[in-house]
């Protein structure tokens, strides 16, 4: 695993939530491989290696995207839609982490291909536990799609 390899893309506009999430992830030693995008546009530029991220390569996609829904510029649902409709990014696990437990958000999220939907618990202990579980599950327990496989699929297009 070289330094280029990124574990988590955290899409979060709120400084407080960002700090709390980073705090929780840091405790699990996952924080050193995190990139934080502060709005939907930045998240998309990062994932699609464009704009200020033009130098990035598709060879090193994040292993997990933690996505908030209420975001400036491009909202979370749109970010999700674009990730899941592009062959090069659609296999990246996207976990929606939001304050909202609205049914319509849940339905829309899963319909667009979200891999998981988590309501951020108000209680900090629970929040920490949740973040830890999500991180460990998707980065350690879960077997991701082989990198070669993605490339072959893309090449054949």
């Amino acid at each position: 695993m070289n330094s280029e390899e990124l574990a988590i893309l955290l899409v979060e506009d709120n400084q407080d939530d960002m700090d709390l999430a980073l705090h929780a992830l840091r405790r699990e030693n996952l924080a050193n491989r995190i990139f934080v995008a502060r709005d939907g546009e930045e998240a998309l530029d990062f994932l699609f290696c464009r704009g200020t991220f033009g130098h990035r390569s598709f060879d090193h996609p994040p292993k997990l995207v933690l996505l908030d829904l209420k975001l400036p510029k491009v909202d979370g649902m749109e970010v999700l839609r674009q990730i899941k409709s592009e062959a090069r990014t659609k296999t990246i696990p996207v976990v929606i982490m939001t304050s909202s437990k609205e049914e319509r958000d849940l339905v829309a999220g899963y319909t667009l291909g979200a891999n998981s939907y988590i309501q951020k618990p108000v209680d900090f202990d629970q929040f920490r536990e949740t973040v830890k579980n999500v991180g460990l599950y998707w980065l350690v327990t879960n077997q991701p799609v082989p990198t070669n496989g993605v490339h072959e699929t893309v090449a054949r297009r």
Partner: protein
């Protein structure tokens, strides 16, 4: 000479005694001179008239005046015939009566003719009288019919089979503004200004009710009338039918009609009001939908925007405790604990308020649900809350009912959590050091059961907890209403309000019964009551 005449003839002496009869007398009466001489003639007289005859005859003799009289004489065959008798005195030169000369002329033929004539005259008079009487009767009836027709508020027109008007009452003239017309029927529509309900198409002649009536049809028709005699057009309703003679053969038609302009206006007004009402309902519904959407947006933003800062307060105060706790003095730590518990409480409050709002907004998703499965699930969820306690659950066999399982689960979750909470002082006596306590406290018992009350399923959650004073039962289901102090029993005061909202959404009722220190029972139904009046054991949380 006297013997030759057709009449009966006789002669009497001055004193009236008859001395001679002619041959006809004897022939007619069948008598002899011997029988008749002197005053013997009386035997051929009708005894009924004889006294009158004698009186007249004797008066004539006494006054020496001629005598004339009609009376019957008996013939030889015993039957009487009418005769006119005339007697003339024969006087000497000194004017003294020397004898009397009398004749009896048979007048029975004339008499009969007279009688016949009199009979005919009488019959004629009787007929004339009868005619006069029936004419009077007819007049009376006509007058009555006329006054009936005139007193009617309905217009009445009758035609004979040729279409000539025979009746046209006062009201008809008042309603149509004109009297009966002599015009032929094709000109009636134009004459009276009759139109179809569209108010512009002239009424087709062949469809005119009174003409349809002549054809034997019964009909009820609405038409619009506007002619130069009226200020404004009017609406009339015409009922018509055939007129039949005694043999049941159609001999004309009758049409009754009334002014329904007012009724039409009322109908229009009602329709307008209905339209307005509908329009208003649509408008209000739209407003309500907008309000609902706003509420939804509000709930969403409460969900998102309130929860986030709460998480931050909680999170950072926790981090403060964890990272700098050792350097803080106990009071500062205590304050941080208070911040933590405040944050938790507010988090619960926000969550429960949201779920209450969601109940109001969501459509009911009715489906058959096994209540025992729901209750078991709820008991499992509540497991952490009875950690270290001895609680006896008594769950009866519950039926499968049509309901929204997600919402009903919320009902049981609230009620069972309450039961669990308010039985907390019931610690039980089993297997602990308290076994030697002189007055053992029973352990917590929570029962879930159902019964049928007047055809309705009533579900019950009973506990043997602290109960409450029924004095405050009215407050039980109100939002933020609490019957216990927060130090004794924590809570938001939203749970039972949510229960009530869910039950009412199902068309049911929820009520409670309790005794302070003994326990409480909550009852609820999930269907609308079949009876208007329904007995309940406790206070009812009725829908508002």
């Amino acid at each position: 000479m006297a013997n030759g005449i057709e009449q009966l003839a006789w002669m009497a002496e001055a004193d009236g005694s008859i001395s001679w009869y002619n041959q006809r007398w004897y022939e007619y009466t069948g008598t002899t001179l011997e029988q008749m001489q002197g005053w013997g003639w009386q035997s051929v007289y009708d005894p009924e008239v004889l006294p009158r005859v004698l009186e007249g005859w004797k008066d004539a003799i006494a006054t020496a005046k001629p005598f004339g009289m009609e009376f019957p004489l008996r013939g030889a065959d015993g039957s009487f015939r009418a005769f006119l008798t005339r007697v003339m005195p024969v006087k000497d030169p000194h004017g003294r009566v020397v004898r009397w000369f009398g004749t009896n002329t048979d007048i029975s033929e004339r008499k009969q003719a007279e009688e016949r004539l009199a009979g005919q005259a009488e019959e004629l008079a009787r007929q004339a009288e009868e005619l006069a009487r029936s004419r009077q009767e007819l007049e009376t009836q006509t007058l009555m019919l006329q006054s009936v027709l005139d007193s009617m508020t309905e217009g009445l027109a009758a035609v004979d089979e040729q279409g000539k008007f025979v009746i046209w009452n006062v009201a008809a003239e008042k309603i149509l503004g004109m009297g009966a017309t002599d015009l032929p029927s094709p000109e009636w529509t134009g004459h009276y200004g009759l139109f179809l309900p569209d108010t512009v198409t002239p009424f087709p002649t062949e469809q005119l009710p009174v003409l349809r009536a002549i054809r034997g049809e019964v009909s009820t028709t609405e038409m619009f009338v506007r002619n130069h005699e009226m200020a404004e057009g009017i609406w009339i309703e015409v009922s018509s039918g055939p007129r039949k003679n005694g043999d049941g053969v159609v001999c004309g038609g009758v049409a009754a009609f009334r002014d329904i302009t007012k009724r039409k206006a009322d109908e229009r007004e009602i329709r307008k009001l209905t339209d307005e009402l509908e329009h208003r309902v649509v408008e209000r519904t739209a407003q309500l939908e907008t309000a609902n959407k706003e509420l939804e947006a509000f709930s969403y933003s409460v969900s998102h925007d309130l929860r986030a800062p709460l998480r931050h307060i909680g999170g950072f105060s926790k981090m403060l405790v964890e990272e700098f706790g050792s350097t803080l003095d106990p009071t500062a730590q205590h304050y941080l604990d208070r911040i933590q518990s405040g944050t938790q409480k507010m988090g619960m409050l926000v969550d429960e308020l949201l779920s209450l709002a969601r109940v109001g907004r969501q459509a009911l998703n009715r489906q058959p649900a096994r209540l025992n499965a729901i209750v078991a699930e709820v008991i499992a969820i509540l497991q952490p809350e009875r950690e270290g306690r001895s609680v006896e659950w008594v769950v009866a066999d519950l039926p499968v009912v049509e309901c929204d399982p997600v919402l009903v689960k919320q009902v049981f979750q609230n009620l069972l959590a309450n039961a669990l909470k308010f039985t907390r002082p019931r610690v039980g006596t089993d297997g602990s050091a308290q076994a030697e306590t002189p007055a053992p406290t029973p352990c917590a018992v929570i029962e879930v059961s159902h019964k049928e009350d007047e055809g309705q399923l009533v579900f019950m959650v009973r506990d043997n907890g602290v109960g409450f004073n029924m004095k405050y039962v009215d407050k039980l289901f109100g939002v933020f209403q609490r019957l216990h102090r927060a130090e004794d029993f924590e809570g938001t005061g939203i749970g039972l309000a949510t229960v009530q909202r869910i039950v009412q959404k199902h068309g049911g009722r929820v009520w409670a019964d309790a005794e302070l220190g003994k326990g409480a029972t909550f009852y609820f139904t999930l269907t609308a009551a079949k009876q208007i009046e329904s007995k309940s054991n406790g206070a009812t949380a009725g829908g508002q």
